[in-house]
Amino acid sequence: MSPTLTTSSEANGNVSAATARAAATAAAKAEQTGPQTITLAKALNTAMADAMHADPSVLVFGEDVGMLGGVFRITDGLTKTFGKSRCFDTPLAESGIVGMAVGMAMNGMRPVIEMQFDAFAYPAFEQIVSHVAKMHNRTKGTVKLPMVIRVPYAGGIGGVEHHCDSSEAYYAHTAGLKVFTPATVADGYRMLREAIDSDDPVMFMEPKKLYWSKDQVDLDALRAEHAENTERGTSSEGRAAVARPGTDATLIAYGPSVPTALAAAAAAAEEGRSLEVIDVRSLVPFDDETICASVRKTGRAVVIAEAHGFASVASEIVARVQERCFHHLAAPIRRVTGFDVPYPAPKLEHYYLPGVDRILDAVDDLQWED
């Protein structure tokens, strides 16, 4: 389950040769069958390609997603395979991209659109909040918007300002949007297919620092799983996963923080402490059940997120867990989040990001002596 982190130091949010090479190698490997080592980028790319094969109404568009394949290469090859009508570049206008997708979704299409970076989705905020999120409700369900807004988000890649925002709370706070964020390569494929299948709009938050993380996955098995789920009407949507079982305390993390939480759990194990790691996966809908079951079992919890802590998804998780598990708690729930400062410049981001040490300090604070 735990992906190997191979974040390239060259990869600073701009397109680097290393990224392109990695994508090309991954593309070649993807032709093999059976278990293979691929990147999250490749898993996302394959999910879109498979969805486009399966359904001609699935369209991909955004800025530089055509010939270039996106600045992160996530749409690599889609124009070549499916033609310029199915995967195409738009003028530089994020509100335009989202607004046009709304109209297309109203008229029989399933657009999968890319916001180039987290902070560059802000021009589209009005469309997202006032229309994407509300259309189904205001039309009493007569207009559905089956659309996916892919957002490369969060930091950890040495990106310059406006390229590293953790913007998930804005969307999670908005009623009517589903918010997914994969942390593993397999979930990249699985969750993007489910997002594209969803009749409701999905904000698909992709942890950009994990794009080049690799894991052994069997794409054919994932395809079979998807087909089976489709047939049965089941899915993994809205369910958290136990990324590492443990007994002493629960680390609750999502997206870019999951590998950090796993690293912290590994370090704690060496000190004899058994930490369970929960990968939230879906911020909306939220899986109270899995998360509370874990906290009831361990009695202690730390929530880890890169975003600012104030009024955040992490705050929401703490509130929900204490409402439901208060009498099982041996200590107050701790949060390890980014500081409440604008995302820092590359040379400072290391101080900002929740790291293993900060997580372990929080775990130490969970009143073990009582």
Partner: protein, 416 residues
């Protein structure tokens, strides 16, 4: 599904030359050269609006002489047929009655708010009549009369303003977008609907509507540019009623006219007397036809006037003179059409009485429909947020149900 259109801009995209790229599609259409061929005029003469607004029937109800209609080569318009004029006149009378009735219902407290299109009925009616059945309309909050003229049930149309729900009709069934309040956001939805239709090879035209003030919004720009770049059959219809709440057009734009904005996007613009339904039918009719034939998007600006306050909640005397309003009374779209139709022998007392009766029937429908106390269903709050409610919404819905049940019990205990 066939996806046939190459919807990139008129200019070949750079990828077309790159080896390994998707095969270049058929020769991209070129709105400009198409127009040059069709009308024998220059690109500039096609895209720039005619030197003056197009007007066919003047405020006094007489036919404007051909030489003074404003048309010039490539921008010539012919009179709509008698049947079309009669249908339009009938809708005009109905529209005025609807505006007056709704304003009265607001005063009586039976409707929360109503942005009236009183004075703009010619624009409202022409917007609906220029479209075919398969076409789409994307209206604003002020365009209720256009929505009804398109065939949506009047009471369903007013649901939004009565306050029962945010919308009362099924947009897909009527091919009318839900009336939109965030300014110009709906134009992009129109662009998307047209784009989807084009990719499937359907000949749908979209009429996307907004006001003069709204042309300053960013989405206005993004929508026009997208429609032009993707070469989509969208007619942008701006009702320039001179005000955005209190702000006059001069504070909104110093462009020679709003129709002139079209050329900046590579599309054709035209301005028309917005109180002259004959000209409106001609200009919008041509725009829809050109869009359907593949000439790309067009922008039509109608000069009209918001005769009443922005909504019932607004006090227009704070920012404009009564004398200004009086000038526009003389340009009323209904009275000029009545004179014109009567003089042409198309309208006699019998016919006029029949039309008035139809208008009265719609008003009665509105009065009765809106005085009916439709009970609201509290559980509807949770029903439509998603196709399937999340566990969180189910919890909250159960909480409200419990609250209401306890309320009912305590009320019945009090009654005992």
């Amino acid at each position: 599904m066939t996806i046939s259109a190459d919807h990139t801009a008129q200019h070949p995209a750079p990828e077309a030359q790159t080896p390994g790229a998707a095969a270049p599609g058929p020769a991209p259409e070129d709105a400009a050269s198409e127009a040059v061929r069709k009308f024998g005029i220059t690109v500039e003469d096609y895209m720039l609006p005619a030197r003056h607004q197009i007007q066919m029937v003047g405020p006094d109800g007489t036919l404007t002489p051909h030489t003074e209609q404003g048309a010039q080569p490539g921008h010539e318009y012919s009179l709509p047929g008698d049947d079309e004029l009669l249908a339009a006149y009938e809708q005009l009378v109905v529209g005025r009655r609807v505006n007056d009735q709704n304003s009265a219902l607001v005063r009586q407290g039976r409707m929360a708010v109503y942005p009236s299109s009183h004075g703009q009925e010619a624009c409202q009616v022409a917007a609906a009549l220029c479209l075919s059945e398969g076409d789409w309309m994307f209206p604003t909050y002020r365009d209720s009369v256009a929505v009804m003229a398109r065939g949506v049930d009047p009471v369903q149309t007013m649901t939004l303003f009565r306050g029962d729900w945010h919308g009362g009709y099924d947009p897909s069934r009527h091919k009318v977008g839900i009336q939109c309040t965030p300014l110009t956001t709906q134009l992009l939805h129109g662009v998307g609907v047209a784009h989807a239709a084009k990719l499937r090879g359907e000949d749908t035209v979209v009429l996307a509507m907004c006001g003069d003030g709204a042309t300053s919004e960013g989405d206005f720009h993004e929508a026009l540019n997208f429609a032009a770049v993707f070469h989509l059959p969208v007619v942008f219809f701006v009702q320039n009623n001179q005000y955005a709440i209190s702000v006059p057009l001069a504070h909104q734009s110093v462009a020679p006219s709003l129709a002139h904005k079209a050329v900046g996007y590579g599309m054709a613009g035209e301005r028309v007397d917005g109180n002259d339904i004959v000209a409106l039918l001609a200009v919008l009719g041509r725009a829809v036809r050109l869009a359907r034939e593949g000439s790309g998007p067009l922008l039509v600006e109608a000069h009209t006037y918001r005769m009443q306050a922005h909504t019932n909640a607004d006090d227009a005397t704070r920012y404009r003179q009564d004398s200004e309003v009086a000038e526009w009374v003389a340009k009323d779209p209904l009275s000029r059409m009545k004179t014109y139709m009567t003089d042409r022998g198309l309208l006699d007392d019998d016919r006029a009485a029949g039309i008035a009766e139809k208008a009265e029937a719609v008003a009665t429908q509105l009065r009765e429909g809106l005085s009916e106390e439709v009970p609201v269903e509290p559980q509807d709050l949770f029903k439509y947020v998603f196709s399937t409610p999340t566990p969180q919404l189910k919890e909250q819905s159960a909480m409200l149900a419990d609250e209401l049940a306890r309320d009912a019990t305590s009320k019945s205990e009090v009654a005992k």
